[in-house]
């Protein structure tokens, strides 16, 4: 487990994904996010600046989060997407669903 959660405001957190989100820590990631949703968080900014590995299990956990918050008018956005993460996002065409921002600051501006 190498992700950390940082609260921006009552509704919004940024998750610093860390080096890897894959089959080894995906269920921890999912549980941590669910806890945030239960506490009232609706918007998740995922910081991928350091992420070298995102496998399909990791991506699946992000999708679960998306399906959980989108009916609650929440959103999941990506910030500072690294090259390996970009490859996965391109392959799965998920940029159609997850807005991307070049930096955390840009994401902070856009996510209220």
């Amino acid at each position: 487990m190498n992700f950390t959660v940082e609260s921006w405001n009552q509704q919004t957190v940024v998750v610093h994904v860390g080096k890897a989100l894959d089959f080894r820590n995906a269920s921890d990631f999912k549980a941590a996010c669910q806890e945030q949703v239960r506490a009232g968080v609706r918007n998740f900014v995922l910081d991928f600046s350091e992420t070298g590995i995102l496998d399909s299990t990791g991506l699946g956990s992000i999708f679960s989060l998306y399906r959980q918050v989108s009916p609650l008018d929440g959103q999941v956005v990506f910030a500072a997407v690294s090259r390996p993460v970009q490859v996965v996002v391109q392959l799965t065409r998920t940029y159609k669903v997850f807005r991307q921002f070049p930096s955390l600051d840009a994401a902070r501006e856009a996510v209220k």
């Binding site: 089959f23 496998d55 399909s56 299990t57 991506l59 699946g60 999708f63 679960s64 998306y66 399906r67 490859v87 392959l91 799965t92 065409r93 998920t94 159609k96 669903v97």
Partner: protein, 391 residues
């Protein structure tokens, strides 16, 4: 790994507290004073093992055990009886009802701990063997027993499911004479759960295919239906899958496909490999997702090659993954091999930092053969060669 949970059932207060104290150093312990209370605890949460007295007021140990035998979830919970009665009668009765172990009071706590450990170990081994067996069973059902055989074409298939691999799937069907539908997908997740979801998912794909073919032959529309099923059916809520659906009509040498976020297939010839670029979003995310059909014509001596991501994610010398570009660089060299996939995979392993593939590998190779060299000059042929000529 999470701690094992143990339920201690003992009417005598002091002994119950003693057991709770000693066992809680190693396990998560809950207690009950009789069989009825024990059933309540079991209902709250299934324990991994039960340690129970026999002689208790309300419901005794035998009655508790009999009760747990009645339902499927509780039947397999290992059971250790503690009793002051060292007499043969209760021992024999215990054996008859399928007790897993039996310790007479006064007992040595270390002996009890050893037995608990042994039983938990045995259960874990049994469980993992069962997982492997079920996993293999699913894997076999997710893969074809044979391949389509069509004159002028050759097809190859390779699949190496890993015990802790993912939910790769492959299927084909000749929906009407001369029209084949090919399905390649990957359900997200790992291990038995992914295989199970892949198995259910493939069932959905098959039934959608059969149910919809009367209305449409379009892979894109079929894809849309499958996506809707994933979005609407609560049991499939946690299922996300990449999927490639292709309609293959060998008489026209045409493939029409829709791609939902799956690895992009390649068109391979002896001299080059090209990616088939168009794809849409992965399934299970967007209820309004739309998909598009792309039709391509397979030239003589070229192959349509589709695969799952385990191939691209293999770590190569230098630490980088093989990747789409890496695959495209090497794959034409294997075109003329009798077993192109086997040779390709051997080559990748030679250049990999790992002795074997880290993930599931699935490759499907559909090659249109070169036009035959004719004995007679073409202009003498009374029939032409519609099947081989470009439309």
């Amino acid at each position: 790994m999470a701690q094992h949970s143990i339920l201690v059932v003992e009417d005598e207060h002091t002994l119950r507290r003693l057991l709770e104290y000693r066992l809680s150093k190693l396990y998560r312990v809950r207690t009950a004073a009789n069989g009825e209370e024990a059933l309540e605890r079991v209902k709250e949460e299934l324990p991994d093992l039960v340690v129970s007295d026999i002689m208790m007021p309300r419901m005794d140990g035998f009655a508790l055990q009999a009760e747990l035998q009645k339902t499927r979830e509780t039947r397999a919970i290992p059971f250790i009886f503690l009793t002051a009665k060292a007499d043969e009668n209760s021992r024999l009765k215990g054996r008859r009802t399928g007790v897993d172990d039996y310790i007479t009071k006064p007992f040595d706590i270390d002996a009890l701990l050893t037995r608990i450990e042994r039983l938990l170990e045995r259960t874990a081994i049994f469980q993992s063997q069962l997982d492997v067996k079920i996993g293999q069973d699913f894997s076999q059902k997710l893969m074809p027993k044979k391949l389509p055989t069509v004159e002028g074409y050759s097809s190859h298939f390779f699949n190496n499911p890993k015990e802790h691999g993912g939910g790769d799937l492959f299927d084909w069907t000749e929906a009407e004479p001369g029209t084949f539908y090919i399905t390649i997908g990957d359900v997200m997740g790992k291990g038995l759960q992914a295989k199970f979801y892949a198995f259910s998912f493939l069932g959905y794909v098959r039934s959608t295919l059969h149910g919809t073919l009367r209305e449409t032959r379009s892979p894109a529309l079929l894809m849309q239906r499958v996506n809707q099923v994933l979005m609407d059916d609560p049991t499939m809520e946690e299922t996300f899958a990449s999927l490639l659906l292709a309609r293959w009509e060998p008489a026209k040498n045409e493939l029409t496909y829709a791609n939902a976020g799956h690895c992009r297939p390649l068109i391979v010839s002896p001299s080059k490999a090209e990616v088939v670029p168009y794809s849409d979003i992965i399934l299970g995310l967007d209820p309004m997702a739309e998909f598009t059909d792309t039709t391509l014509e397979l030239a003589p001596e070229s192959a349509f090659v589709a695969y799952t991501d385990g191939l691209l994610e293999q770590e190569m010398e230098g630490g980088a993954q093989l990747g789409e570009g890496g695959l495209m660089d090497i794959i034409p060299g294997f075109y003329r091999e009798d077993q192109p996939i086997d040779r390709l995979l051997e080559h990748i392993l030679e250049k990999s930092t790992l002795p074997e593939f880290a993930d599931d590998i699935l490759v499907f190779w559909l090659a249109r053969q070169a036009l035959r060299q004719r004995q007679t000059p073409r202009w003498f042929s009374p029939f032409g060669d519609q099947a081989d000529r470009k439309a």
